[in-house]
């Protein structure tokens, strides 16, 4: 028992030292870093607005743009409805989905919601958290995104 615990501590210590922990089963983070981050956008003012020239603005667009810059990635916008984009996310065709998603949004298997980056209150007084959607189980990517959200979001 004691040996097992010691061995486990060794593994933990080693994995803590070497980079790349946690790792992505599909390698999303290493792929998008210094590469292209494909972001699914469903239009929802003021979080996301699709301009006439095809560019995307809005608070979440700015947030994602900032994240992409932090990992040296170029953003490629993919427009669609939330449900279409969720399927694309599960299939690995996009890396993130934005569009004023709330923390109680139902997600398909293969997708997961990030931690809330901000909290808002509806006119009827219900509080809800705003989130992004990411591929399920891509934990290095998820951790990287969430770390950015913690540092740059307005969640208190």
């Amino acid at each position: 028992m004691r040996r097992l615990v010691a061995a486990l501590c060794m593994v933990l210590a080693l994995s803590g030292c070497s980079g790349g922990f946690p790792r992505d089963p599909q390698g999303t983070l290493p792929r998008v870093s210094d590469g292209t981050l494909r972001v699914g956008v469903s239009e929802r003012d003021p979080y996301t607005r699709v301009e006439d020239d095809g560019g995307v603005t809005g608070t979440e667009a700015t947030l994602v743009q900032g994240y992409a810059t932090s990992i040296g990635a170029q953003v490629e916008w993919v427009r669609g409805s939330t449900s279409e984009l969720m399927v694309q996310l599960s299939n690995g065709d996009v890396d993130l989905v934005i569009g004023g998603l709330r923390e109680d949004t139902p997600v398909t298997r293969g997708a997961t919601l990030t931690r809330p980056y901000a909290r808002e209150v509806t006119s009827s007084g219900t509080r809800f958290g705003l989130v992004l959607a990411a591929p399920a189980g891509e934990n290095a990517f998820l951790t990287s995104v969430e770390t950015y959200l913690i540092q740059h979001g307005s969640f208190s």
Binding site: L8, F21, P22, D24, P25, G137, N139, T147
Partner: protein
């Protein structure tokens, strides 16, 4: 038999066990709260939570049993009171284990990938998996120490619920290691390790229950008193037998003993030699000597019979 009538050593052990069981309840509740805070999507950690909740059962059962054992028997309950103790525990473990195996086999089959992201702790941001591992290690080590003490007390008391409780504490430490391994593997990108670890935790619980249940039902129904972890006959059978055949007027003797929780109910059948008609004083003397064999033998009946019951021949 009230708790006050126990021998001093057992009385002290019982009080200590009651205190330990209360501490266990507190520890398990705190541990469950901590685990809930970090569990997130990890199935392995959710399994650890389920186990923490199951581990509330044995101390509750023990405390209840200790209360019950403290009350004297009456007309309706002439053998004194006893509880369903480890039968309940066995069933709870079986149900919990089967549920874990089922849900996690399903998760594996569907290829569900656990998402474990970032967390804030200690004034910084880190992978939430680290927090899980920290909490799991702490919540496994404390029950392990409690289990070590309970095993010792259980031996003094001869208490099966306490033994089962201690054994479960050791099992929990083992499954804690499994769970940590699951989370670490997820960190290495092996997504299936999470549900697999949870499934194995379920399997360990079922194994534990299967080992516990036959003894538990047997004690309640029709088995002779056995040793702490079941199986062999309790040595008190032989000790009573030795004393029973010692008097010169006894030709043959048979013993049957039932486990009533802390104490036993023992029946000693003696066949007198054909030329002797034992007096009440002789029988009472024999009974007094039998009760001195062990503190658990204080409820011993002597029956003088022309021949032994068939089961004891």
């Amino acid at each position: 038999m009230t708790a006050r009538q126990l021998p001093p050593q057992q009385h002290a052990a019982l009080q200590q066990s009651v205190r330990l069981s209360r501490i266990s309840l507190l520890v398990m509740v705190i541990s469950a709260i901590l685990v809930v805070r970090v569990a997130g999507e990890s199935r392995a950690v959710q399994a650890a939570l389920a186990e923490d909740l199951l581990m509330l059962v044995p101390p509750l059962v023990f405390l209840w049993g200790a209360r019950q054992a403290g009350r004297p028997g009456d007309r309706r309950r002439p053998y004194g009171r006893r509880s369903l103790g480890h039968l309940l525990l066995g069933l709870a473990l079986l149900a919990g284990g089967v549920a874990l195996i089922f849900t996690n086999a399903l998760a594996l089959w569907r290829g569900e990938r656990p998402s474990i992201g970032a967390a804030t702790a200690f004034g910084g941001t880190l992978w939430a998996g680290w927090l899980m591992i920290l909490v799991l290690v702490v919540t496994a080590l404390v029950p392990l120490e409690l289990a070590r003490r309970k095993t010792r007390l259980a031996r003094t008391l001869g208490d099966k619920v306490l033994t089962a409780d201690a054994d479960l504490g050791v099992t929990a430490a083992l499954t804690g290691v499994l769970t940590v391994a699951g989370v670490v593997c997820v960190g290495y990108g092996l997504w299936w390790a999470d549900a697999l670890a949870a499934l194995l935790v379920g399997a360990v619980l079922v194994f534990h229950a299967v080992r516990l249940l036959p003894g538990a039902t047997g004690d309640l129904l029709d088995h002779r008193a056995t040793e702490l972890r079941g199986g062999e006959a309790h040595p008190i059978h032989y000790q009573l037998m030795q004393v029973a055949v010692a008097p010169v007027w006894v030709a043959d003797a048979g013993v049957r003993v039932r486990d009533l929780g802390h104490v036993f109910h023992s029946e000693v059948f003696v066949v007198p030699r054909h030329d002797v008609n034992p007096t009440v004083a002789q029988i009472a003397h024999l009974q007094a000597r039998l009760e001195q064999v062990d503190w658990k033998a204080r409820d011993t009946v002597v029956a003088v019979v022309p021949e032994l019951p068939a089961a004891l021949r």
